[in-house]
């Protein structure tokens, strides 16, 4: 069921590419091939998946432990931006062995397909995943054409 969103047909190929890209980032500061102008470094918080159907586009942000009130969402045409912050309380009396969890402010900008309708957006937060659903314009949906 999740196969379609979490491992598209080209995922494994891209995964290898991305890992290589990561190494390139570290060695040369940038990959030798062009990257999306708004693409971010791998591992940037929060990770996102974007899926689409003919009716809608869904953005899933994997951001556990957020206060939904800290989130700011805006959409201008097909450009969706989400910002917020996650504050991790530090226990002053404790000794830390690992601190891997993201702490601080974040912002991600996602360019969606051109046919989304910025007037029809819904967002909800559940189990640490922010799901933003944007409807696509009717005119852009595939239509059945009857041959007479």
């Amino acid at each position: 069921m999740f196969g379609s969103l979490f491992s598209s047909f080209d995922t494994h190929l891209f995964d290898g590419l991305r890992r290589a890209e990561d190494d390139m980032d570290q060695v040369f500061g940038s990959a030798p091939w062009p990257a999306g102008i708004r693409s971010v470094r791998r591992g940037t918080f929060p990770p996102i998946n974007v899926g689409s159907t003919p009716e809608q586009v869904d953005v899933y942000m994997f951001a556990a432990g957020l206060d939904p009130k800290s989130l700011e969402l805006s959409i201008q045409e097909n450009l969706l931006s989400v910002s917020g912050s996650r504050k991790i309380e530090v226990n002053e009396d404790a000794e830390y062995y690992r601190r891997e969890r993201f702490d601080g402010d974040f912002r991600r900008v996602i360019s969606l397909p051109d046919d989304v309708d910025p007037e029809r957006v819904e967002a909800r937060y559940r189990d640490g995943v922010l799901q933003i659903t944007v409807q696509r314009r009717e005119s852009a949906r595939p239509r059945q054409i009857v041959v007479n």
Binding site: F6, S7, Y60, A63, A64
Partner: protein, 136 residues
Amino acid sequence: MADKQDVATREPSEVQRRSREKAREEEVVLAPSVDIFEDRHGITVQADMPGVSKERLNVHADRHSLVIEGDVAIDMPSAMEALYADVHSTRYRRTFVLSSELEPDRIEANLKDGVLTMRIPKRAEFRPRKIEVRTG
């Protein structure tokens, strides 16, 4: 199935293809990011597992190890096509080795908004005591 087909050029069947895909999917496991700290009472582990509900979370511990596992379940329309994916798996797993002064039977776990918090208490005799240094 077509009744005549050249075996040598036959495409893998749908079933074969799916089971291969499934096997590949299962190889990919996400390691949740964790914070681990210790105070005088015990060790606290906090893990980010967004998308995991209480029903799909599995924490088990014995004397030697602590395993946290969970499956991501999110609402999505059927026939969804991926446009972009940072997350390539729906399964989290991470294992830690415990040491003998900890009490795995008394672990408390709590899951809220995808953050798992576990308290692993230390046996009473291992809680540090202040040692007075006398002079003279």
